[in-house]
């Protein structure tokens, strides 16, 4: 369970109140004791004096037994001294001789005897007995009201209490004010810490006392926290910027910009000990590069002074001026940049490899196409012509041998085989008539051979680049081959369409289909199609479900400028 919290101010006020109560109470109590004591002594002395003077005055009249005068004297004394409550005279035998009571002597008094204090309606009465002539003439008894003597004391004590109370209130008021003033810096510090917590900059109060030490410590802490927070924010920003790019130059620029924008430095430079001129990039620097002191020192091979330098790698050194930053922070910056540059280097390496692979593949495919074209042309032009000539020669044979007809049939079959093989290698139509004619011919031939119905629709507003035509032709050919071999389709449809700066080829059949996840791309020739399409920056999508036919979509971007 949390302890009930009591504010510091309440505690301080509590201390003041308790201290005041103890001091005030003690003061009042000792005043009470002293004053009471003095009052008692004064009262006793008064009674003593009064009784002695009365006794002196009365003795003669008592001896003369003039009780009347005695009474008169006593009455008179009562008038003169209002605090004299009563007086009475006893004979040596103890008989009541006279008294000052108007309404008759209260017998109870006799029974009370020597008791000194008697409670009465008008307050406590102190009683004294004086022997007249050593008791031979009787004894005089006086009762004196204490109140009259003690009232002064009581008034004094009451006044004192009032004074103490007022003083206490004034002290509480002052103490309240003072604690408030005293606690103000504490409040300021709390507010400062709270705003630091929220990441804002805060003014820490520094009073000239012990709290000031705390304030100064807090101020130092706040400054450290602010720097740390700024460091983290800077690194965060830097990380984000570095992640956005893979260009080393761009990374350098991002780092310099970040360091200057976040005001760590007013001038940041990326220098290279190896580069010509030595300066790679500069941000926020006023001095022209040729006069840059850091660069000159670097070129002279001296340690760079007046700058914070940051060695990233063998080729790049950052020279920073117009500000300072902690070593740890700069090391982190260097790490970030170094990692970024390394990432860029690896990426570049991979990209180059991929480009190289593509170039090789492209060269390979091109060489293959050329070779095929050459063989097809040779087959067509040389072998085909020769076979034609052979057939015509057979026709001219005189006299015709009996095997002539069979020979002519053989030559015809061979000729048609040669032409088919040539077309399959690379149709002359593709180069001479364009993709549409070649596609039509190929689809007709392949589908016709497999007794599949076919439909070709081509809609292009302009001729495609020859390389693209070859790619699309080969993809269609591969797709058709799959249809003929595996699909058991009734119908195949080929769509070639230009749309929105792209050319799309769709080969669709109504055959058995397959589950694309279960058939490996290499076995279905898909990998070859995909490779070809991706080489020209396009994408290949295969859609197929078992029993629902197959659609192969190739989408290739058209070059912006297509020459006819």
């Amino acid at each position: 369970m949390p302890r009930r919290s009591v504010s510091l101010r309440a505690k301080l006020l509590g201390i003041v109140a308790v201290t005041f109560a103890i001091v005030g109470g003690g003061l009042w109590l000792s005043a009470y004791v002293i004053l009471n004591d003095q009052a008692n002594h004064a009262l006793d002395a008064r009674i003593e004096g009064l009784s002695k003077s009365l006794a002196g005055e009365l003795t003669d009249y008592v001896l003369m037994n003039d009780l009347y005068t005695v009474r008169r004297i006593l009455k008179r004394a009562q008038q003169q001294h209002p605090d004299l409550a009563y007086a009475y005279l006893l004979s040596p035998g103890g008989d009541l001789l006279t008294h000052t009571f108007d309404g008759g002597f209260p017998d109870a008094l006799l029974n009370l005897g020597q008791r000194e204090r008697i409670a009465s309606e008008a307050g406590p009465v102190r009683q004294r007995q004086v022997e007249l002539l050593g008791g031979q003439a009787g004894s005089l008894w006086l009762g004196v009201y204490e109140n009259v003597a003690l009232d002064g004391v009581r008034r004094t004590l009451a006044n004192l209490a009032l004074a103490l109370l007022l003083g206490g209130l004034a002290a509480a008021l002052v103490a309240g004010r003072m604690t408030k003033a005293f606690l103000a810096p504490v409040r300021g510090m709390v507010a400062a810490v709270e705003s630091l917590e929220k990441g804002r900059r805060a003014q820490v109060p520094v009073p000239n006392d012990e709290l000031g030490v705390l304030g100064r410590a807090l101020e130092r802490f706040s400054e450290t926290a602010r720097r740390r927070s700024l460091e983290l924010r800077t690194l965060n920003l830097l990380g984000q910027r570095l992640n956005k790019t893979l260009d080393p130059q761009e990374m350098l620029r991002a780092t310099l910009n970040t360091l200057v924008e976040t005001r760590w430095f007013s001038c940041a430079e990326a220098l290279s000990p190896t580069a010509e001129g030595g300066s790679l990039l500069r941000v926020g620097c006023k001095v022209p590069p040729s006069e840059c002191p850091a660069l000159r020192q670097l070129q002279l091979g001296r340690p760079v002074e007046g700058f914070q330098t940051l060695e990233i790698n063998e080729e790049v050194v950052l020279a920073l001026s117009g500000g300072t930053a902690s070593e740890a922070f700069l090391a982190a910056v260097a790490d970030y940049l170094r990692n970024g540059l390394e990432r860029a280097r690896v990426h570049e390496h991979i990209r180059e490899k991929e480009l190289e692979r593509r170039r090789l593949l492209q060269a390979l495919l091109r060489a293959q196409e050329e070779e095929r074209g050459r063989i097809a042309k040779d087959l067509h032009d040389q072998v085909g012509q020769s076979l034609t000539a052979l057939r015509l020669g057979l026709e001219a044979l005189e006299p015709a041998p009996p095997t002539l007809h069979a020979l002519k049939r053989l030559v015809e079959t061979t000729l048609s085989d040669v032409r088919r093989i040539g077309r399959e290698l690379r149709p002359a139509a593709l180069d001479e008539l364009g993709l549409e004619a070649a596609l039509r011919r190929m689809v007709q031939e392949m589908a016709g051979f497999a007794e599949i119905e076919s439909d070709v629709f081509v809609h292009c507003s302009r001729p495609l680049p020859p390389e693209l035509e070859t790619v699309l032709y080969r993809v269609a050919q591969e797709a058709l081959t799959n249809v003929v071999r595996h699909a058991r389709a009734k119908h195949v449809s080929v769509l070639l369409k230009e749309h929105n700066r792209h050319v799309q080829l769709v080969v669709e059949d109504d055959g058995t289909g397959f589950d694309p996840r279960r058939v490996s791309e290499s076995s279905s020739g898909l990998i070859g199609m995909r490779e070809r399409i991706e080489l020209v920056g396009g994408e290949l999508v295969v859609e197929s479900h078992a029993g629902e036919g197959t659609s192969i979509y190739a989408r290739v971007p058209l070059p912006v400028e297509v020459r006819a």
Binding site: Q385, T388, A389, L415, L433, A437, S493, K497
Partner: protein, 213 residues
């Protein structure tokens, strides 16, 4: 007598053709050339009357089609017959467009050559039956249904198909399942009497379904 000029780079082919022509007794070969350039040169130099030139389309130097065009400029009355290894309808179309009057694949020389020569000599054109069929096949005008026969959904599906979208893309765009897209496609196809993507696309373009893209 029909006077014929032969252009072919292959001597045995020339000899064979000459043999077939001359054995009919109706044709006389008045000259030969092994390239388009030589043919143009020879025909430009002599004033010999020639009724018909028989050209190979794959010639060294200028090709058969260019040669035909220039021969036609040189001698507008000269009839041109192509003798080609290529049996695609497009080649025939091109040759006829260049001024030729007949086209013959080399595989049917011995059967049709004389028919072709005679037809051209009569001032007619000659193209073998199968090529002719291929040439007119994709020009046939079919009565096409209007887009109104389809529901809006079916039209959208056909439109996607004609745009070359995958069924998955169509389904995503129309917020339908792929099965439903397939069903719409089936219905549209049977209403239009067109089953293939190619045919649906042709129809969509003809009726203007893709306009506005």
């Amino acid at each position: 007598m029909i006077r014929v000029f032969l252009v072919d780079d292959h001597p045995v082919v020339r000899a064979g053709v000459r043999f077939i022509l001359e054995r009919s007794g109706e044709v006389t070969v008045v000259g030969e050339a092994i390239s388009g350039e030589e043919a143009l040169e020879k025909l430009a130099k002599t004033a010999t009357e020639v009724d018909l030139a028989i050209l190979d389309l794959s010639l060294p130097g200028i090709d058969g089609i260019a040669c035909a065009r220039r021969l036609k400029e040189l001698r507008p009355n000269l009839k041109l017959l192509a003798l080609s290894m290529h049996e695609e309808a497009e080649y025939a179309e091109r040759f006829l467009a260049a001024g030729g009057s007949g086209y013959l694949g080399k595989s049917s020389i011995e059967y049709e050559l004389m028919d072709a020569v005679k037809a051209l000599a009569r001032g007619e054109h000659y193209v073998p039956q199968d090529l002719l069929y291929a040439m007119i096949q994709h020009r046939q005008e079919e009565p096409r249904p209007t887009p109104e026969v389809l529901t809006e959904r079916e039209r959208s599906v056909v439109r996607g198909i004609a745009m070359g979208m995958t069924y998955k893309q169509i389904a995503a765009e129309l917020e339908l399942s792929e099965k439903t897209v397939a069903t719409y496609r089936e219905r549209a196809a049977s209403k239009l009497g067109l089953s293939s993507r190619a045919a649906l696309t042709r129809w969509a373009l003809e009726v203007g379904l893709l306009e506005g893209d």
